[in-house]
Symmetry: C2
């Protein structure tokens, strides 16, 4: 099978947690070269400015809001690759973590379109940097799990809570919208209600906030969020975060249940 | 407590997997401003070139080789912060994953030295990008665990194998030196010997290689490595990697036990 010489390449690029200087050098270069950029709703305007000459197309996806159907995104990427040399699909965080990259890659490769993936800083690591707490603090944690309770349509229930319970540290993505259900599932899996947690909102951005407490406090901590994307971090390493609750350059709140 | 006005800041910076253009923009800027850089042995020369005006000091750590004692590194960072404005501690991958960041941060903060952390691309995500296989492929994986079997001196045994068994996908860091023990521990934890694996060596660098097979093949796959840093990736999502074994721009090998 030969590729049309005029067909472009689709780059799945990680936009990182939000701060423009947390993109990789490779990502910035590709955005500068891009003819067209298809981006998630969560990618900030300052990041999109890096794609100076590109047409920008928002294609979802913001939690809870209606997002462009995946099939439609796939089709638009294909059309763009037939028309342009450099097509960028810009995804928040890292494209290979909870990003539905697989659907886009397999569709495009089936259509004989060249695909490259450029990794990005996933927000769990940016949150860890802001907290200055290692996810795998020696002596306390030798494993960290990144999970989501979120399922696709028709997807079989996953055992995400078991993965959290078995790891020393865990980070939950796209989990803050149903805090009660998260607490229930984790308790059933054996996570103690006194386990230290941090809810990290809008990591790396101006409106960032860190809310600390225990698993039992989760609903209250989530209620304090201002609507930005939020991560839930759980584990003994975050005991240190409780002490820091009133300190530091970012908005911090602490909650302790009796 | 007041800080000496002349005291510098120590930046713990992630160097990413090795390719210089996989550093973040922030990391590149700080390297350019650095007066002195303390770096792991695994950070490639091309990355160190970004610290044009800085004094460079290698402070370990390469698997299996004798590395500078952590206490000595801490002391050197402290002395440097008292002498210089911008001190960079450059760590392979992300500084908060398996990087002993905690020891350095807590020591420096106890000495009233300002510390900032700049996240980096961890090699698991760079390997996923090279494989073009999502670590959390929808319908197959909703959790991924990053673990290490490696323990510090006097550290209590961890249940890393249980964390691997409970997650849909797992990535093992610093685990390739004792493949037999890894297979044994994972089998005891309930991971099937037919579980698809990829050994990813020197991710993002010119000498990179992807070796695919099953857990039972691990010792053979590791024996094919050329001595670069190697990751072990495990999970159903890597079934696709078996098909790709002879393709692509990087050196790939496949092994299948009968």
């Amino acid at each position: 099978v030969t590729r049309n010489a005029k067909t472009g390449t689709v780059y799945l690029v990680g936009a990182g947690p939000g701060a423009p200087d947390l993109l990789t050098v490779r990502a910035v270069r590709l955005l500068g070269e891009a003819d067209i950029v298809f981006h998630d709703a969560l990618v900030p305007a300052e990041v999109l400015l890096l794609a100076a000459k590109a047409q920008k197309v928002a294609v979802g996806k913001r939690c809870g809001k209606h997002s462009t159907a995946q099939r439609f995104i796939n089709k638009r990427l294909l059309d763009a690759a037939r028309e342009h040399r450099v097509v960028v699909r810009l995804k928040g965080g890292d494209p290979m973590l909870f990003g539905r990259a697989h659907e886009e890659i397999s569709f495009l490769e089936d259509q004989n379109i060249k695909v490259e993936v450029v990794p990005g800083i996933t927000s769990a690591l940016a949150a860890s940097a802001e907290l200055k707490i290692s996810l795998t603090r020696r002596g306390t944690a030798r494993s960290v799990a990144f999970v989501t309770p979120r399922l696709g349509e028709g997807e079989a229930p996953s055992n995400w809570a078991r993965a959290v319970a078995a790891a020393d540290t865990a980070v939950l993505y796209m989990a803050a919208t149903d805090a009660q259900a998260v607490v229930r599932a984790l308790s059933e899996a054996g996570v103690k209600s006194a386990a230290p947690i941090v809810v990290a909102e809008s990591v790396s951005l101006a409106g960032r906030a860190l809310h600390t407490g225990t698993l039992a406090d989760l609903p209250r901590l989530v209620a304090r969020c201002s609507g930005g994307p939020a991560l839930i971090l759980i584990g003994e390493v975050f005991e240190a975060a409780q002490v820091l609750a009133e300190l530091g350059p970012v908005r911090r709140t602490a909650s302790h249940s009796a």
